[in-house]
Assembly symmetry: C2
């Protein structure tokens, strides 16, 4: 999927909602455990119930890896299901990978080719030659960890150099000089709304993937205030707040309601732009 | 495996060699492609041919992921084979993972429990609460990316704050304050020998995992000069230089020879301590 197609979907659906698929067998409705592949069944029902309200799904790869080979099978079935039934959906492998060049190419192939995701999250610590192999893939996006929503995100990401430039700003600045940087998006936590204005000055055009709305306490309104750009430029992720809205038989219906609340809030924000 | 057992193995074998299993179907001897599981067969023959010369094996997870579910099956067979046949070997999942707390626990379970590795490599960018979930596992080690051997390693890792402290030094300092920090090891590239003295001042006791000897140009002698501590404290990794020493039918024998060269060099260094 390319950038124009993503923006078109946002405009059609009046939504820039991404739903995180962090599937935990201890949290899903227990009747699903009778299915042959409970992880896939849960995802399928969530996706069917919310696809008209979201423009993106983001399986967190850790939750699949934790179940070993069965988890990988469930991941493959999930991405294949989305790509076949809802090809208009933007897909994000939340994998937070990154390694030396040769090896990053392997990861890129795993997510972009074998699994056919539209994008993958990548950690910047190892620098340019660990990220550029991902950027080499056309019509695929690399989403760089920048300023994360967790408490520990402040341990290193806001360290300042002698000029007062923080590490996350360096990551933004440097990465803009890398080959195919137009294929970059950035992860910025919704728990850090005070930073969005600065970030938009450095990367006015790139999409930002924003986790942390809902369960982690981030505010959609505050993020949008400085995060939105002329082409929207935001994907707001909610995981637990939607997919675990209910642990009963009505979980899919409750997920629809929660997603609808966010979509409506987004529609209002977009119409007031 | 605990620290004492690892040190004991180093002393018995007079070796602190780690062999990286970066299996690429395009590089392995082509006759192996006739096997049911060529990746596992390659690993098995390499391991059988070198286990007496090495104290650790380090499968790079990217190379397995790139082959999808088949790759994960080969990884599981490989780690099971080592754990069963050579339980004295220290195993490293070179995965470079890291995510917010809840999710890091998932990765930790995947590698420490489901696959039963002794250790896993983790990226520090997301800070304390992304790493501590790994450190919660007893008799398991978390190997933090610190100063990597690739060119891009210098993009962010040596950025200095106003006091002249570099990011990689901050990573070392901060991480030493984290809970269970005695379960930390650190990745430091052999291509940066000038940094080992500084690093040993901050982390005198922790093991360092050192890639970059051989194909990437690092020198074993230079690394040992400042990297060795009273309990050795080094695991030197070689991947391509050993496993792809020959692409012919004699690949396992050639791997033995290359590993023996390194082991002998290590034995000499240890005896002169």
């Amino acid at each position: 999927m390319n950038r124009e197609q993503l923006i078109e979907q946002i405009k059609i659906k009046k939504s820039f909602l991404c739903i995180g698929l962090d599937v935990d067998l201890e949290k899903i409705p227990q009747h699903l455990l009778n299915f042959n592949d409970p992880i896939f069944e849960f995802n399928k029902q969530i996706i069917d119930a919310t696809h008209h309200l979201a423009v993106a799904y983001k399986p967190n790869i850790a939750f699949f890896e934790a179940y070993g080979i069965k988890g990988w099978q469930a991941l493959k079935k999930t991405i294949d299901y989305i790509n076949k039934k809802y090809p208009e959906i933007f897909t994000i492998a939340d994998a937070k990978r990154g390694d030396i060049g040769n090896t990053s190419t392997r990861y890129a192939k795993a997510f972009f080719e074998d699994l056919n995701f539209d994008s993958v999250t990548v950690a910047p610590y190892m620098g340019s030659d660990s990220v550029e192999p991902f950027l080499a893939f056309a019509d695929k996006f690399t989403i760089l960890l920048t300023l994360t929503s967790n408490k520990g995100g402040l341990d290193f990401q806001v360290l300042k150099d002698k000029n007062g430039t923080t590490l996350y700003e360096k990551v933004l600045q440097e990465s803009q000089t890398w080959k195919n940087s137009e294929r970059l998006m950035y992860v910025v936590g919704a728990t850090r709304p005070e930073y969005f204005q600065k970030i938009r000055k450095i990367v006015p055009n790139n999409f930002l993937l924003v986790p942390g709305v809902g369960a982690q306490g981030g505010s959609l309104q505050e993020v949008c205030k400085f995060g939105l750009n002329d082409e929207i430029g935001l994907l707001i992720n909610s995981s637990r707040g939607i997919i675990y809205a209910s642990s009963g038989n009505n979980f899919a219906q409750k997920a629809t309601e929660k997603a609808l609340n966010l979509q409506q809030e987004m529609e209002e924000i977009l119409s007031s732009q």
